[in-house]
């Protein structure tokens, strides 16, 4: 068993490897960790790099994959990439679901038979409140996309990002849950997570301060290097944060994995990673 597999088995390292596919997005949410938007640098991780690192991760004993950005489905090659990842390991792809037109949905159909989930952001049961953070028409587009995925048999999860999940009005939360249940998405596929005070959220003074002590070690591969967590490669003022950078080299994957394991070893006793992206 590799050192990574041991660490995953003992819970010292999360078994999922994240890929930041790109940084651009059709939206510009007010809490976006990566300051994504239509005109930012794309910083795409090439498809063959994603698949090569995924193959190495599989051999090292990683158990799952995640794809995030930016909006992954802005890329034409994303449906095929997600399907290929899903053939190897259970995969979750984070999406705003507003670019899932008929063509993309058709291209995504092969993942219906695979352990793949599209995790879609939906923050509020009320369209006006939801769109305040995520932009006009977001609620309507998400409401249209989810049933189309579900009817094709594609796994869907809902992610709700809130300033303070503990302070949310129970009635509001129940309405949101009724909404996802009505679309065939069970409670276990609904995650509620706090806004993290990085990227545009930090600029807008939103969210929870999170140092690496609050985050789980989850190997995250980007075009700029490997990071400690998917909350690592955030962008502020157009500049990539490096405080959670593990290594610039990502190949062979063993190199950032070894570095990450050394960092995970230094975590203080009683380390309680309480913040997850999914």
């Amino acid at each position: 068993m590799s050192a990574a597999a041991d660490a995953i088995a003992s819970g010292a390292l999360n078994g999922r490897v994240w890929f930041y596919s790109n940084y651009h997005c059709n939206l510009q949410c007010s809490y976006c960790l990566t300051e994504s938007g239509p005109r930012v640098l794309r910083r795409e991780l090439p498809g063959e790099v994603i698949l090569d690192r995924a193959a190495e991760a599989e051999a090292l004993g990683f158990t799952a994959f995640g794809v995030t950005g930016g909006e992954p489905f802005i890329r034409d090659d994303m449906p095929a990439l997600v399907a290929e990842l899903g053939r190897r390991r259970p995969t979750v792809v984070l999406s705003n679901a507003t670019l899932l037109n008929e063509r993309r949905l058709r291209e995504l159909e092969p993942v219906a038979d695979l352990p793949v989930h599209v995790q879609i952001s939906l923050d509020h049961p009320d369209p006006v409140a939801n769109d305040e953070m995520r932009g006009p028409e977001n609620f309507r587009k998400v409401m249209e996309a989810i049933p189309k995925l579900v009817e094709r048999g594609i796994g869907v999860r809902i992610a709700t990002t809130l300033e303070d999940p503990d302070a949310v009005d129970p009635e509001q939360r129940e309405r949101l849950c009724e909404l996802h249940r009505s679309m065939g998405i069970p409670d276990e596929d609904h995650v509620v997570r706090p806004i993290v005070n990085r990227g545009r959220a930090a600029t807008n003074d939103l969210g929870l301060l999170a140092g690496f002590e609050q985050l789980e070690p989850e190997l995250t591969v980007t075009v700029d290097g490997a990071f400690y967590s998917p909350f690592g490669p955030t962008v502020r003022g157009g500049r990539l944060d490096s405080d959670l950078l593990v290594s610039r080299a990502t190949a062979p994957l063993q190199r950032p994995v070894d570095a990450l394991l050394r960092i995970a070893d230094q975590l203080p006793d009683g380390h309680d990673a309480s913040i997850g992206i999914r």
């Binding site: 640098l41 910083r43 690496f212 075009v223 700029d224 400690y228 003022g237 157009g238 500049r239 990539l240 944060d241 490096s242 405080d243 959670l244 950078l245 593990v246 290594s247 610039r248 080299a249 190199r255 570095a259 050394r262 960092i263």
Partner: protein, 202 residues
């Protein structure tokens, strides 16, 4: 991919001169996880702050630089002879200014420092045969091409033990690497060092 950031945004402005380096100097709040142990309480040196761009290189380069340039079998004075002389020959502004201050701290006289910087003739300050041989060796390694003159090789082998000759040669060659690194990246000298040099008349 490069994300330029001005020095003013992230460096302690008191800590660096106004010349903008070519690459972003990583300050403590942005220090990558494996680089953090190399960041002390004060502002990091520009070498540390630039190497932090690539933490896996910083991790091996800084301990190497510390071992190669710090005192070892050769004492701090001998090391500074090698570092300052080599830096002057390579015309590395950063290393000459920084190591002028270090050399003074190590007890070298202002006159000796000026000789090493190439501003005075050798005879003005260095008379001991061992140090004159060391300086000839340093000049030959730092500025020479091809093999070192056999006469000088014999002289050096006589004046220095093998391990001393190895250490002196590595000090010069490690300094050459740093000279080109600091010059190419235009690393800024700390404001404190510049003030000190002005005070000392350099």
């Amino acid at each position: 991919m490069k994300h330029r950031r001005s020095v003013e945004q992230h460096a302690n402005e008191d800590a660096v001169s106004t010349a903008a380096p070519l690459v972003e100097l990583v300050m403590r709040d942005q220090a990558p996880l494996l680089a953090r142990r190399f960041f002390g309480d004060g502002p990091p040196s520009p070498i540390t702050a630039s190497l932090a761009q690539v933490p896996e290189l910083l991790e091996v380069a800084l301990p190497f630089i510390g071992a190669a340039l710090g005192p070892g079998a050769l004492d701090a004075r001998a090391k500074e002879l090698a570092i300052l002389r080599t830096s002057a020959l390579l015309e590395c502004r950063y290393c000459v200014q920084t190591h002028t201050a270090v050399a003074l701290d190590c007890g070298l006289s202002a006159e000796e420092v000026r000789v090493l910087r190439g501003e005075l003739e050798l005879d003005a300050a260095f008379t001991a045969e061992r140090e004159r041989t060391m300086l000839a060796w340093i000049d030959a390694v730092a500025a020479g091409r091809g093999t070192v003159d056999p006469g000088l090789q014999s002289r050096a082998a006589e004046a220095l033990a093998d391990h001393e000759l190895v250490e002196l040669t590595l000090t010069v060659t490690a300094t050459l690497m740093l000279n080109r690194y600091c010059t190419a990246l235009d690393l800024p000298v700390s404001a404190a060092t510049l003030a000190r040099l002005t005070e000392e008349g350099f």
